[in-house]
């Protein structure tokens, strides 16, 4: 099932399918946020944003607006 990364629940993971590259920082790609890589939502901050992710082995936090630019296939 294809969903936006922003809609993931805690503990869910998926494979990145597409990334709207114009609207996200290059740094995120450099940290491994690329199509084909696995992503897991580890935790959400209080009030549900930002999101704490494990993308391709990198642990990082991004905000909801950026996560909305990333589409994943749920695992």
């Amino acid at each position: 099932m294809k969903v936006s990364l922003a809609s993931l629940k805690k503990g869910q993971s998926g494979i990145i399918i597409s990334v709207v590259t114009d609207n996200i920082p290059l740094k995120l790609l450099e940290m491994g946020c690329l199509p084909g890589n696995e992503v897991e939502l580890l935790q959400r901050a209080p009030f549900s944003c930002p999101m704490y992710l494990n993308i391709n082995g990198s642990h990082l936090a991004i905000r909801k607006e950026v996560a909305e630019q990333i589409e994943v296939e749920l695992m």
Partner: protein, 698 residues
């Protein structure tokens, strides 16, 4: 002279790059700035065998050579410019064992610049525990490099790294990715236009110009004129490059590395469950702050008392053994009290830097950024503003520089403008001495005293003022700016003692040296102004006073003469001129002088008062005792009472009294507009708050 090998240490943030640097260089290091910009430059020397030496530069942490900040740009500048004095003979890329994949990105980029490159895999001792196995010989073959397994924590692998640096000429130089593959058409055209240049270098120069226009570079002639693509297309090519590189890296690691996922979690997950919990996360953060303030106040009072006493003793001692005269007076009344006024705060400043350093080293700071982001955004700030706001409690200057990794310009500007409200270590001297004079020593319960609670309250006032002004600025500033918030959440680490110790030592040293110069200069100026006067009333003070107060005892007479002299010195007249302005705040002209001189740097306040009070006085007392014995000429009660004290505390909490901060804000905001607004706003607020407090409490 023996040949020196230039080494650049490069790597992602949080890989233990600095630990490797400290291990190689020990205390043989210098910390300064890159010329013209305020990016910290760390360099050191490491002795190799046969009299060889390595000159090692610890470059700022970066994820790639596509720079998006001033700090990252330094890395590219060094690597692209063969004439740069730091241009490496050999690059050492430091990766931690958990994030090899990500670190290989910058590794392959550097390789493609034809620079001999060694790959250090740090924290290798944890491989087994994390369930990671790597086929090192195979990885070396595929990456065409030498790999050194290290554990900076356990001091393993240093000798092997030194040996590899020595033998850098044997390293194979072969690119990992043919830049041509990124976009054959574009790169073909580029190569035809500049047949002699390295294709990848050209590409970096072009993309760098997109991000950092107008940077002077003399290595490659005007490649920037080769602008056949729009910026958005160049950005797309950069993305394509990243994807290509990751394809190569994924393939390489698939063949050489296995990770047993089950072992990979553990400590991180367990600690995260508490530290970023929606309730416990904030509780822990608050508790840590409380603990730090209590420590700064209570623990450092012992060494401080010793230092205070020692300086009073020194002044006495020198007065005894030196012949009477101008120079002796300058020393015991000007220079010594001035220096004492700064040395006394070394314990506290060191404590503060110690705690901040531990918070950053342990990986906890990123968790605070994470839980605070949402809250901070309400005030127009970013979660990342927390780092400047906390390090602002040490000093506003590094704090303003720390705003650089806030990507959104509006949030960054607001952070810069409000950061000087946080209680920096220069305010501490003022707070401490006034608190100890006007706040009773009672305790609430067994742990917190009134005095340390007051101090904590002042810290909260500082943060509060910062947040409220941020909120106001956010309402009124009309700046549109896109925000890309990406924060790495590093693994938790027990801070390395050596890293923390070096950090505390360097920072404290820099603070003392910087502030010391100003304080020494001001002490001397003040002593001169206080020791000479324009009229006869100064030079013939003795006659004036003796005729006026004939019935007084000899001892009283001495004191009368001293204060009469001070009143009619240059300083006295200057102080009297500003007295009408500070009188409504409850200050006399001496405090007025101290406040004026504090506009150079706040910490001058105490040493100024120390100098003023000791001019002409024969007895060398501690600063605190001198202040306590000051009498208000109008009320005949102690000058430093609750009303004056609170008024002073509030004035120092809000006023923008730091020439260096103004200078750095001007630099970071490119002009005088923002620092001027900041200065007027903060100092105006300070005056009003102090006025209200005094009038209400007196």
């Amino acid at each position: 002279m023996a040949k020196q090998i230039n080494v650049s240490l490069i790597g992602n943030p949080n890989t233990g790059k600095t630990s490797v640097f400290n291990l190689l260089t020990g205390l043989n290091q210098q910390v300064g700035n890159y010329p013209g910009i305020t990016v910290e430059r760390k360099a050191g020397v490491c002795k190799l065998s046969r009299g060889l030496k390595a000159h090692i530069v610890d470059l700022p942490g970066t994820y790639s050579l596509n720079a998006s900040s001033l700090d990252e740009n330094v890395v590219i500048e060094v690597l692209l410019n063969k004439k740069d004095k730091d241009y490496p003979d050999v690059a050492v890329v430091v990766s931690d064992v958990e994030n090899i994949k990500r670190n290989l990105l910058i590794f392959t980029q550097i390789k493609d610049l034809d620079i001999p490159t060694i790959l250090v895999i740090n924290m290798a001792d944890q491989m087994l525990r994390k369930g990671i196995t790597i086929d090192i010989p195979e990885l070396e073959k595929r990456l065409n490099t030498k790999i050194v397994l290290m554990s900076a924590r356990k001091k393993q692998g240093v000798e092997e790294l030194k040996k590899s640096i020595e033998d850098y000429r044997k390293l194979p130089v072969a690119p990992c990715l043919n830049a041509f593959e990124i976009d054959p058409e574009y790169f073909g055209g580029l190569q035809r236009a500049f047949p002699k240049e390295s294709l990848y270098k050209l590409w970096l120069v072009i993309t760098q110009d997109v991000n950092f226009a107008n940077i002077n570079r003399n290595t490659i002639a005007d490649a920037s004129q080769f602008q056949t693509k729009k910026n958005s297309e160049l950005k797309r090519l950069q993305q394509k490059e990243t994807i290509k590189r990751y394809q190569f890296i994924n393939q390489t690691l698939k063949a050489t590395q296995t990770i047993d996922i089950k072992n990979a979690k553990g400590v991180r997950a367990a600690l995260d469950r508490v530290l970023i919990h929606k309730v416990w996360g904030f509780v822990v953060f608050l508790a840590i702050l409380l603990f730090i303030f209590q420590a700064i106040y209570d623990w450092s009072s012992y060494p401080m008392d010793l230092i205070d006493g020692a300086f009073a003793w020194m002044s006495d001692f020198f007065r005894e053994i030196l012949p009477e005269g101008m120079l002796t007076n300058l020393l015991v009344e000007g220079i010594l009290p001035g220096i004492g006024g700064i040395v006394i705060f070394i314990p506290q400043i060191a404590f503060l830097f110690l705690f901040i350093s531990i918070l950053e080293e342990s990986g906890y700071m990123s968790r605070v950024v994470f839980i605070m982001d949402r809250l901070m955004r309400r005030f127009g700030l970013s979660g990342k503003s927390i780092v400047p706001l906390i390090s602002g409690t040490a000093c506003a200057i590094p704090a303003v520089m720390a705003t650089r990794n806030i990507e959104n310009w509006k949030q960054r500007l607001i952070t810069i403008l409000v950061v000087p409200f946080t209680t920096c270590s220069a305010r501490l001297p003022v707070y401490l001495i006034i608190i100890s004079l006007v706040i009773p020593t009672h305790r609430v319960g067994w742990f917190f005293g009134y005095q340390s609670l007051t101090l904590m309250f002042l810290y909260f006032i500082g943060f509060g003022a910062a947040l409220v002004s941020a909120w106001l600025l956010n309402k009124f500033l009309k700046i549109e700016s896109k925000s890309f918030f990406v924060v790495e959440m590093p693994n938790y680490k027990i801070p390395l003692f050596k890293n923390v110790a070096i950090n505390v030592f360097e920072k404290t040293k820099a603070f003392i040296a910087g502030a010391g110069k100003i304080i020494l200069a001001i002490s001397i100026i003040l002593w001169v102004l206080g020791s000479f006067g324009p009229t006869e009333k100064f030079s013939k003070a003795k006659e004036y006073v003796t005729t006026q107060y004939q019935e007084n005892s000899a001892e009283d007479l001495e004191t009368q003469i001293a204060s009469y002299k001070l009143e009619h010195s240059y300083m006295g007249y200057m102080g009297k001129a500003i007295e009408p302005v500070v009188r409504p705040l409850g200050y006399d002209w001496k405090i007025g002088i101290a406040i004026i001189s504090s506009f150079a740097a706040r910490e001058v306040f105490v040493s100024t008062l120390a100098t003023i009070y000791s001019v002409g006085s024969e007895e060398e007392e501690t600063i605190k005792n001198r202040m306590a014995s000051e009498i208000n000429p109008v009320t005949k009660k102690p000058l430093f009472n609750l009303a004056t004290g609170i008024s002073l505390l509030l004035f120092y909490a809000f006023a923008m009294q730091c020439a260096s901060t103004i200078a750095i804000v001007k630099k970071e905001t490119n002009g005088w507009m923002w620092p001027s607004i900041q200065f007027i706003f903060m100092s105006g607020l300070a005056y009003i708050a102090a006025l209200a407090a005094y009038q209400f409490l007196k």
